[in-house]
Symmetry: C2
Subunit: 201 residues, 2 copies
């Protein structure tokens, strides 16, 4: 058995702080999933739910908005490796990651609830965009730019519109689904196979 | 001067009921724009704001959800005439109408506020989809189907994915704008010019 600086017996395994942080993130997510709005959340209530002291939360996050941003970010799929040999494969990987992270109805609800307050919590929405959204979009932008450089994509590619059509197509299925029918597992391929060659004969 | 059946003097012009209905719709929209959630709205408050009696509202709408659906529907651009000679022109008209109706920040706020409660008011969201959304999507679907029939579009067109990419691209710009910069006026054309011929060289 190992003892730390304060003489406390430490069992080997995950550090205490990492467990505490996971409990805090999980508590935040659970409370939003149960319907708590960002306005209704409090560090106090989250700490109680997570079984930690408030100081443990403040050690890592300066306030509830920072904590909610990290909680929402943890729900997003990791940016996939976009180093496949073809631009089509990288596009499919990117779209498939979007589809995968939308799979859980619970995740969709949480995102909707939190983002519905973006008028009242503009800083939260802005930080979430900076931390979670922009890096993902930039990764796709780089894939498309490499595609024009390699000659796989048209030299006059309108990169922003291309991104909007690829991402927008997947978002159309994941965000505006009219029902909870499962999405086809090959949806990323189908989107790539329409948008890359286009709709003309 | 004309008198009606009750002997009330009627000035020529818009019928009284049409003015009252417009006032009711406007009051509903204004109150949502000022931050009232659907939960917080009441027929009583809307009637007071519109300067009408509650019975005037109930004559046309069975409850506040029906009224909110009609109010939101009134914010959407009319389905444009999609009878242009080419499929490209019809696609551009459709996308341009989407762009036009998103132009007002106020309209976007109202839509967001009302739709953010779709978990709590599923009937409202469902009815709005039936009345306002589905007919518009069906109109675009018909355009694309006619395009494959006429040979302007590929015979193996994946219609649902094509709709998702066209609509999703415009929604990506209008719904997830990261700022309030004005959208380029030729955006509908740019989207059509990427998606129709595709991204390949």
């Amino acid at each position: 058995m190992v003892t730390d600086q304060l003489g406390t017996a430490r069992t080997p395994g995950r550090p205490r702080s990492e467990k505490a942080e996971k409990a805090i993130i999980d508590a935040t997510i659970d409370m939003i999933a149960e319907g708590a709005t960002v306005a209704e959340l409090s560090i106090e209530a989250i700490a109680a739910r997570a079984g930690v002291g408030k100081t443990t939360i403040y050690r890592r996050w300066s306030g509830k908005e920072d904590l909610v941003v990290d909680a929402l970010t943890s729900l997003k799929a990791p940016i996939p490796d976009l180093d496949a040999p073809t631009v089509r494969e990288n596009i499919v990987r990117y779209l498939a990651a979007m589809q995968h992270e939308s799979h859980s109805r619970r995740t969709r609800c949480i995102m909707n609830i939190a983002m519905s307050e973006s008028e009242r919590f503009p800083t939260l929405a802005e930080r979430f965009r900076e931390i979670a959204i922009k890096p993902r979009r930039e990764a796709l932008r780089v894939v498309l730019q490499r595609g024009t450089a390699s000659g796989e994509l048209r030299p006059d590619l309108d990169v922003e519109v291309a991104m909007a059509s690829l991402t927008g197509a997947m978002l159309f299925f994941t965000k505006w689904r009219e029902n909870d029918d499962p999405l086809p597992p090959d949806l990323a391929d189908r989107i790539a196979d329409q948008i890359l060659p286009g709709l003309l004969p």
